[in-house]
């Protein structure tokens, strides 16, 4: 297969439980959501948390990715990538999608602002966002706050420049295994 890395490493990825690259339409959200909720671990509460984080962040890919594809059902959906990695004491959940260069600073500020709050601050901020008229909420703000609240960890984010007009936005959350009540 003409690669310096063997196929095992290339195709399996280190500790990777699930990955997907493609359009994020309603079917993808529902199908992968169900698989996450029922197959990631034996801890139902933990699976539920990962499921909720997935839905919050995957919706942002679907709505705001700069790259769109039309699916068989005629639905126009944003294209992106997600990865769920199983580490010793936590799951690492990562999503990425292309963005317009002009949204780069807005997103960077949003993530930094969310990371500056403690838990109570995040709850207050979420209430403030909910009060805004729908048009002003925009670009996945509440979803990001909700992901930070659910994961109980700061958001990891990275923006890579692709060309003059496009960047690639990566958002990741760490979900500690020990923080979630074991509820088989």
């Amino acid at each position: 297969m003409n690669s310096t890395q063997n196929a095992y490493t290339r195709l399996s990825g280190k500790n990777v439980l699930m990955t997907y690259t493609g359009p994020f339409d309603g079917q993808v959200l529902s199908m992968f959501g169900k698989n996450i909720e029922h197959t990631i671990s034996e801890n139902r509460s933990l699976n539920k948390t990962i499921f909720k984080v997935f839905i919050e962040l995957a919706q942002n890919v679907s709505y705001y990715s700069h790259e769109k594809e039309v699916t068989k059902k005629g639905e126009k959906a944003g294209v992106g990538t997600f990865i769920i990695q199983d580490n010793f004491d936590h799951f690492y959940f990562l999503l990425g999608n292309p963005i317009n260069e002009k949204h780069k600073e807005i997103l960077r500020e949003k993530c930094s602002k969310i990371n500056s709050f403690d838990r109570d601050g995040l709850r207050t901020y979420k209430r403030e966002l909910r009060k805004l008229p729908p048009g002003e909420r925009g670009t996945g703000n509440i979803g990001l706050v909700q992901a930070a609240l659910l994961s109980r960890n700061p958001l990891d984010f990275l923006i890579l420049d692709i060309d003059k007009e496009t960047s690639f936005y990566i958002i990741a959350v760490k979900i500690n295994k020990a923080n979630i009540k074991l509820n088989k």
């Binding site: 490493t9 195709l11 690259t21 990865i83 690639f168």
Partner: protein, 182 residues
Amino acid sequence: MIMNTINKKLSLGQSLFSEEIRISYKGPVDGKIMTYLGDYISVVNELSEKATKKLFKIFFELAENISNYSSEKIQLRDKKSVGAGTIILKETIKNFILVTGNPIRNEDLIPMMENSRNINNLDHDGLREYKRNVRRESAGEKHSPNIGLITVALTSGNPLDLEINPIDEETSYFSLAVKVDK
């Protein structure tokens, strides 16, 4: 595609993103995933109708092999256990390449490798004859991975590109790339 550019820039600890990827998936391969990815393939508009049909057929054979023969099993919500693996559709200028990978028990690997070697040594007519013989020998089996691979080779008209990597004493990682001309 923008994603292809980022795929080249971003390694993310794995190189799933290093090629011209149209769609990729890793996880349990159940009927719903197969239907979704199959539907995606059926709307790839750079392909001729004939090539779409070929790609579709190859995809289902390979996905079924993962679902039935991957040694990594995952229990779904309905308690049904399905095989897990990776499916990637890559696009190059002249063709589409379907790449699949899954862990396999070494006891299942040897006959599969022998079958693949036979497949790559035969021309189209030889493959058809070989398929008839294998079908006769495996009569009564609900699904045979060997017949599936012969069908894949016959459909694609290209050799099977295989790679085996040992994982431990009992398991190896089996990956397969199949080209379909546009």
